[in-house]
Symmetry: C2
Subunit: 344 residues, 2 copies
């Protein structure tokens, strides 16, 4: 409980008790092959007796590897992202690595800061998203780390591995479904075109219109941000107008609360007055009245995949080729969509 550093048991104590040299003790700890059984047992016994624990910092100084992996996400309070992190963490933990978790929000400067932080912390690898896939300064800051990086839900032309979601297909399906119900004024709110999810969703939206032979009205496309605040603001603004949308696709994982609040405030009924589709499943989507149709995918499996990819970099032979792994989406129909009201 004291502030003073606990005087610790060192490898020297272990060696002394076991009656071997520190070199031998070290070999046992790192289970090298060439240690005589009897010595090994004595060392193991000494370790047990003393409750010895290798000092990670000291191991790190010599070995240069910290077995710490950084992760940069948008916001840990977004449930699906928390699930992603949790799943990744489980994998890392089993591999004796530890996760340093941080949130960049939707701020470019913050991402730069974090990259610098991780440089100081000398992590061994990074799982991250990024504000802008094409930002040269961000890329430079990343490369300066000289670290294995795995992107999730970002599609980057570079040396980094990418784990991406097939948002194109998800949004295409949802849009087709709404068009099929008779909707024409479908509001699509998503992030800026500098990241894969926004771009892919937008393309899926456009494709569905093209497939249906319906012209796209850019008036119903808002690509300004992924966050809940943006969702509320954009929805509020658009549903207050006379040419208000008859359906909304919330193109971001934490947009549903904002959209719902805006719709409630305007006293529109779902789905009679307006239909809703969200991205990413949640308790809210399931338990809202009516329940909300969603485009969903397996965020936890993505977390595990990202973790495994980093671990392969840490433990495996250094392979230089970039890898891209895709995750497919599923469109879940619930009760939040109906044919559009007659607004004529």
């Amino acid at each position: 409980m004291s502030n003073a550093p606990p005087k610790s048991i060192t490898i020297r104590d272990v060696a002394r008790i076991a009656g071997v040299s520190v070199g031998t003790a070290s070999r046992v700890i790192n289970d090298a092959a060439n240690v005589e059984k009897s010595n090994k047992d004595r060392v193991l016994k000494a370790i047990e007796e003393l409750g010895y624990v290798p000092n990670r910092a000291a191991q790190g100084v010599r070995g240069k590897r910290t077995r710490e992996v950084g992760i940069i996400i948008r916001d840990i309070t977004i449930p699906v992202l928390a699930g992603f992190v949790k799943a990744a963490q489980t994998v890392f933990e089993e591999a004796g690595a530890v996760l340093l978790i941080s949130s960049a929000g939707t701020r470019r400067e913050r991402e730069l800061e974090l990259l610098e932080q991780f440089r100081k912390r000398t992590v061994d690898g990074l799982v991250m998203t990024t504000y802008d896939e094409n930002d040269a300064e961000l890329a430079a800051a990343r490369h300066r780390l000289k670290l294995p990086v795995v992107f999730f839900d970002r599609d980057i032309d570079g040396p980094e591995d990418c784990v991406v979601v097939d948002h194109f297909e998800g949004t295409r399906q949802a849009t087709s479904y709404l068009l099929g119900l008779g909707h024409r004024r479908i509001l699509h709110i998503t992030g800026r075109m500098t990241t894969h999810p926004a771009r892919a969703r937008h393309e899926g939206y456009v494709r569905a219109f093209a497939d249906a032979g319906v012209p796209v009205d850019p008036n119903y496309i808002h690509c300004s941000g992924f966050d809940a605040t943006t969702a509320f603001r954009e929805t509020s603004a658009r549903i207050g107008q006379s040419d208000r949308p008859t359906a909304i696709i919330a193109g971001g994982i934490d947009m549903l609360p904002g959209v719902l609040k805006a719709v409630r405030a305007r006293r529109l009924r779902i789905p009679e007055d307006i239909s809703i589709v969200a991205n990413g499943d949640s308790d809210l989507a399931v338990l809202a009245t009516p329940s909300v149709s969603v485009i969903r995918w397996d965020y936890e499996e993505m977390g595990r995949t990202c973790a495994h990819m980093i671990l392969e970099h840490l433990d495996g032979e250094p392979s230089r080729k970039q890898r891209k792994i895709g995750f497919s989406t599923e469109f879940v129909v619930r009760d939040s969509c109906a044919p559009p009201p007659d607004l004529s």
Copy 2:
């Protein structure tokens, strides 16, 4: 991008370029007072030029302090807990410390494991919850770390600081409110009595009944677990019986989804057939139909408080007296409660 450790720039390089000794360079890096301005500037310039970053591991070996703080929570995917962690993290980051986040779920063995992990990682402090406030083995494992510990929402007789929520008053208020509406069969679901939140809530519940002069029926009290699964199971079981409750208090921060699912499955109407009160606010409570009355408190401020308390241990003089800090609750009335139906 390589797996090979980047050959790094050391303090010696900095000293050489700046034309000073490593001692002086070290002093500048740790901004000690007694360095001549001109030397300091030269060192700073050299650091800048070289892009030098102190090796944390090496600093840790010598100084014994890692400026890493561990945190053990139940589950990062519970939104209020994620908010707690995020707020704490912000404080730590500003202080140049880094958070190692881990979840113990509701498993005692897992908590023991994590404690051991943190011992290996040689963190400087721990913010945690615990499975059982009176478990001697858990306490022993904690003390073995010889670390400053801050508990949140646990009330421990020991050397550790505690930051606790006034669940007694929260649940007392909610129970009084329901009693006032005419309810008598109020189901209280919460965790086992081995932790402060469960105990305090239970006492608040009992006190409200006593104040109203109504006898408590133990049939309506279930103290088996905090988690969502338990909430669903207990609710389902109880509302299927003929003496079913007319109101439910969900005495845990992630119970609302489970309770709501069970009630929906049974096709009971809220609040006509059954009234609901939840612990901890959430998007779901706000946006459910009807919106759900909650007992809430400021989880983020708690996170900041816990972080500050640990930092005081790390940076301040070692003070030995245990501190307890309380957080008050607020009862927010929404639309999920009404007088009980006539079940006679």
